[in-house]
């Protein structure tokens, strides 16, 4: 480094002090870079799994299933049903009919069933994106030699079909619609429980509770609860919502029991469990936001003879709302990604029908990802990678809408 000219009359002791600052600055920069690299690695890893070559063979050639020259794609629901009835044993047929009566199923659902259960395209090998791009020729020769009957396609596992199809056991036709809807239903009940309770508790603790030992114990406990492992909340949810409150969470008292579940392992239980999980986080964040409302504003309100409630409702809450919403966004983001408590509460791993009421059985995106990643076959890893992308997009879009909502609140003067 070039020595700086010493100005006459100034003491020259700043060089060493600046150098110390530079060292720290470099360290801080390095930690930021490590964080960014980790994020990039994560994203690349996921993307690497979500696209690539797939070789698959059909158990039954769809062309042989054509009736009177009408290909499988164009057959009506009735024709497809005849096909199903003639292929399946009556036991298997009745089982499917019990799951959801054939008369209630749409033509698309029946068509998918035929593809899944009769045509049965089966993946024989998958390659990740990197291999697919760098060794395409090698892949083609391998497939030609080892699986002469198989077709080779470059697929994106993440497609609009993937997002809109229900879950199935066949990787090529599996989708995450059930899981997305399950996540949305769950998060709805999480917010409905945690937001009003959390903000209410924060208002009480900040504005009304006196500073005595009881309230200090409550405060300490809330702070500690925010750090309790989520699996513990799962056990709590299992004990309270699934077991003790089963008549309520299964919809029994409302006469709305889902015949396929008939117990408390419902969307409602899952949402309430996650609600309990994020409640302390919302309370703490809301308290911070309420505490940050300047004293001068409270003084202004009390100084013109406003009551406590008028002050809280008209000044404290509106001014704390952006902060409260920020905290809620963070908490809800955490709830969307939670897996462990839902496993304990009893998420279904394989359901192909959308949740339709608070009392439906459910699966969520993280549960789906967890289930797929735990399978040994490569194709399920690719499905998991694609669903991770879906989860990230879902999370980002929910966050973005919440941020927009928050900004609307903070723009009022």
């Amino acid at each position: 480094m070039k020595e700086k000219a010493v100005v006459q009359g100034f003491s020259n002791n700043t060089v060493a002090r600046h150098r110390k600052g530079v060292i720290w600055q470099v360290l801080f920069q390095a930690s930021t870079i490590v964080g960014i690299l980790a994020l990039i690695a994560l994203l690349l890893n996921v993307i690497n799994g979500a696209f690539g070559y797939v070789a698959y063979e059909a158990k039954v050639d769809p062309d042989t299933l054509a009736v009177d020259g009408v290909s499988l794609e164009d057959q009506s629901k009735e024709q497809l049903l005849t096909l199903i009835q003639s292929t399946f044993s009556s036991g298997a047929y009745n089982k499917l009919n019990n799951e959801k009566p054939f008369t209630d199923r749409t033509r698309e659902e029946v068509h998918q069933l035929v593809i899944e259960r009769i045509v049965r395209p089966q993946v024989v090998e998958v390659w990740d994106l990197w291999t697919s791009l760098t060794q395409a020729d090698q892949i083609r020769t391998t497939v030609a030699q080892e699986y002469p009957k198989a077709e080779l396609d470059f697929v994106s596992w993440l497609t609009t079909d993937f997002v809109t199809r229900p879950q199935t056991s066949e990787p090529l036709t599996a989708g995450v619609r059930t899981a997305i809807l399950g996540s949305l239903w769950t998060i709805l009940f999480t917010i409905l429980l945690a937001f009003p309770l959390g903000v209410g508790a924060a208002i009480y603790l900040e504005e009304y509770a006196s500073d005595n030992w009881l309230n200090r114990i409550i405060q300490t406990n809330i702070n500690n609860l925010a750090g309790v492992p989520s699996i513990v909340y799962g056990i709590l949810g299992l004990a309270i919502f699934v077991r003790t409150l089963e008549p309520l969470t299964s919809g029994e008292v409302f006469g709305m029991v889902d015949p396929t579940t008939a117990n408390g392992r419902t969307v409602l239980s899952a949402g309430l469990t996650l609600g309990l999980l994020v409640l302390p986080i919302i309370i703490i964040n809301a308290q911070e936001a309420i505490r940050a409302v300047p004293r001068s504003l409270r003084n202004a309100s009390f100084g013109v003879g406003a009551t406590k409630w008028q002050t809280v409702w008209s000044h404290v809450l509106p001014n704390a709302m952006p902060g409260i919403l920020t905290g809620t966004i963070l908490a809800v983001s955490r709830a969307i990604g939670e897996t462990a408590p839902l496993v304990v509460v009893g998420a279904s791993t394989a359901i192909s029908f959308d949740p339709s009421s608070p009392f439906s059985k459910f699966t969520t995106l993280p549960i789906q990802i967890y289930q797929w990643t735990s399978r040994p076959q490569d194709e399920f890893q690719s499905l998991a990678a694609a669903s991770i992308l879906v989860l990230l997009v879902l999370l980002l879009s929910l966050n973005a809408s919440a941020v927009l909502l928050r900004n609307r609140f903070s723009r009022r003067f």
Binding site: A300, S301, G303, V304, G305, A306, T307, Q310, R412, F413
Partner: protein, 268 residues
Amino acid sequence: MATNNNGNNHFDQKYVIETQDLDIFYGTFKAVTGVNMKVERNAITAIIGPSGCGKSTLLRAFNRMNELYAGTSIKGRVSFNGVDIYDREVDPVEVRYRIGMVFQKPNPFPKSIYENIAWTARIHGYKGKMDTLVESALKQAALWDEVKDKLHQSGLSLSGGQQQRLCIARAISIKPEVILMDEPASALDPIATLKIEELMQELKKDYTIVIVTHNMQQAARASDYTAMMMLSGNGERSGTVIEFDETNRIFTRPKDKRTEDYVTGRFG
């Protein structure tokens, strides 16, 4: 307001607020000791003294604002029109409605200029014509001409002096009897300060004003009575009113040597 239930019906109409042996505590710390003063109706009473001697604390005791700070308590008596405002049956909200307050830092609500006044009136159940009320309050606070075309802009978009006059307009919109001012001009430039002082002379016709100020010229110019506060020197470090008299007497012929030193700038 609760009726006069403590038997003191013969209060002197001349005085709005009276204190008797008023001590003010923060927890166990006695911040103000033994204040006896009478605030005359439709006059401006200034409280002066060095920093940290309890001027603002005393002022806040006049409308129970001090209760919003944890751990404060008082001993003695503060009466408003003869009623003990610290009586158990008196609601502090009602006290602050009758005795309004303007603070050191202008603190309009983060709402429109119009809403600053309308909200204040509404919470007290005002049912009349809001536009008229807003206009008359802003006119009384000498702010109307400057803001009449932007009533629906944020109160925070105004300059500091205008914000302070908006706070005064807000305070008088509910027609209190007394307005307490806690160094209302200390954050303002001399021109804005002058405007506030002129406004005080106008407001004095309808209201009683108690003002805390650091600025002795301001007290001398604007007030009718002056209370001189100082920390008592006997080891306790508690503020008290050492002299309370007509302003011109305080500034020309003070009885107390410490007052004389302070007002002539020879203090310390």
